[in-house]
Symmetry: C2
């Protein structure tokens, strides 16, 4: 039998567990709602249940698994396996999750930030495979990311590297949720896309989408752009432009081969990506002009596969 690992992707809404081969193939997976509101003890029970169900479906036991990696939506301490906190998981304060899982399931367990897991998954087997230096940008309610340097996940001094959402692209600009001004998250996250759409409509731009519903989502704006809505199209292009400025800046610093972009927005395809690429091409530095900007390939599996492979790396496997 191949070496087997467990990957866990603990989200604020859904919990995913999988048994993953060393070659990154998912053997079996199990998914359930996180029910985060019930607090850490119940969520931990569900993680353990999820791991056991994935094992069961795969026809193997804890003893067949080399290690488990758990992706966490918040800051963690890699060495101590501690979850400091998680904005979308109420009550999670300094939870020694790796130790708990290890004791109760009998598998060596490791925690890592979820964007880092997804980045590592894309590097190992997705859009970034084969490169040495990679940047990952995850677009959603917030903007996150991961940095791969010389084939290794770069976590920084205390594990908080990759906070791409709080890179400044406009000094003194839009107010970000973090309290600072000008962060790229205030320009290119899903809520920022919706906000820009309404700003334009309120300024007198006409869009059929604005008439269809009051509760326009980021996905609605991107879909409308695909269907030719001029306001939505403008919003998608501006979003790509703002992201491009951030990506060009990071490329000037790190000169990576590839920047992988993940999240629902990438479904918008060429309109979105060409706005990002054009901004980087028009930047005058060699690192920006020669950077490959690619959509993520693994979708929701990136976090699972990356968490499992992270556990492999941590155990020297």
């Amino acid at each position: 039998m191949d070496d087997l690992y467990v990957g866990v992707d603990l989200g604020g809404t859904n919990l995913r567990c999988a048994v993953v081969r060393r070659n990154h193939e998912i053997v079996q997976r199990f998914e359930c709602p996180t029910k985060a509101v019930e607090g850490p003890n119940h969520v931990i029970d569900r993680i353990i249940d999820g791991i056991n169900r994935a094992l069961e479906k795969s026809g193997c036991g804890a003893a067949d698994i080399k290690a488990a990696g758990i992706g966490i939506p918040g800051p963690i301490n890699q060495e101590e396996g501690l979850v400091y906190s998680a904005p979308n998981l109420p009550g999670w304060n300094n939870v020694p999750l790796a130790g708990i899982i290890q004791n109760r399931v009998g598998i060596a367990a490791f925690v890592e930030n979820d964007a880092n897991c997804a980045g590592w998954g894309e590097y190992a087997v997705g859009a970034g495979r084969g490169c040495r230096h990679m940047l990952m940008v995850t677009l959603g309610t917030g903007i996150g990311g991961a940095v791969i340097i010389d084939g290794k996940l770069h976590i920084g001094r205390d594990g908080t590297a990759g906070e791409l959402g709080h890179v400044c692209i406009e000094h003194g600009g839009r107010l970000c949720g973090c309290g600072a001004r000008g962060c790229v998250e205030a320009y290119a996250s899903a809520p920022s896309v919706v906000r820009r759409f309404w700003d334009l409509v309120n300024a007198g731009w006409e869009s059929p989408l604005a008439k269809s519903s009051a509760a326009v989502t980021c996905q609605d704006v991107f879909s409308a752009a695909g269907a030719g809505d001029a306001v939505a199209l403008y919003v998608v292009k501006k979003t790509g432009e703002y992201l491009g400025v951030m990506i060009a800046s990071m490329a000037e610093l790190l000169n990576p081969e590839i920047c992988v972009i993940a999240g629902g927005m990438i479904l918008a395809g060429e309109t979105f990506f060409s706005a990002i690429r054009e901004t980087c091409l028009n930047w005058n530095g060699h690192p920006s002009r020669t950077l490959s900007i690619l959509p993520a390939e693994l979708g929701a599996n990136a976090g699972l596969v990356g968490a499992a492979d992270h556990a492999r790396v941590r155990t020297g496997g």
Copy 2:
């Protein structure tokens, strides 16, 4: 005798050569004008003469030297020892400098970008000693930098990492010399400091410095700030603020322990550094708030010491 290396710092104005011990101590150094206008052949002759004079002063010969490192003010190819070009060295196009030096002096030679050499010097024995991840910012006519990750110089895919001057801090903002808009170099380089001073004076702000001379330099502005000139003081603080925005952004990406700042501006001391630090402290990310921002310690020797130690690293010494 200790292991000995040669360090060369090839600037647009001055050429410095030194014999350096493995413990980073400079044994002897030799300095002369580069006379860049005479073209690569004459400059190469002067590099060779400079190395020989430093050897002579140190009482040793080529056979006593393990390797030589040469810092170049422009893009290079580390593997091939090639200088692609150098804006301040006319006629330098694809010069295979490392091979030429190796053949004519009889010492294994390696080229590296000068900001990378200075960054490596500060990391090895200056303000960054003892840390794992370090950012270096060099302030002058342009803005450059270096990135140390996990105790290694990060050069990126093709050796051009660390181009900190072309990180965007204000999308669509001031025109940079590179042709793009909003680069930090357009806000915090020496010429940008002078430009901001005159912008304020032309807008009606009154400064004794403006009356003293038409050819105000960046150093004049920083000196006047030290002497209490309110306009100059404002300019110094704004310069620190703009730099702080860039440094905070890079910290969010990389979560380094230390950011070292080099160049003549650091002589301005506390006024300048507190503006940089305050901006980073007011950024809301953990990596920015916990970053140590320190002045470089080695001055003009950073490049020499770093080039020599780079040669040690390249030869596995």
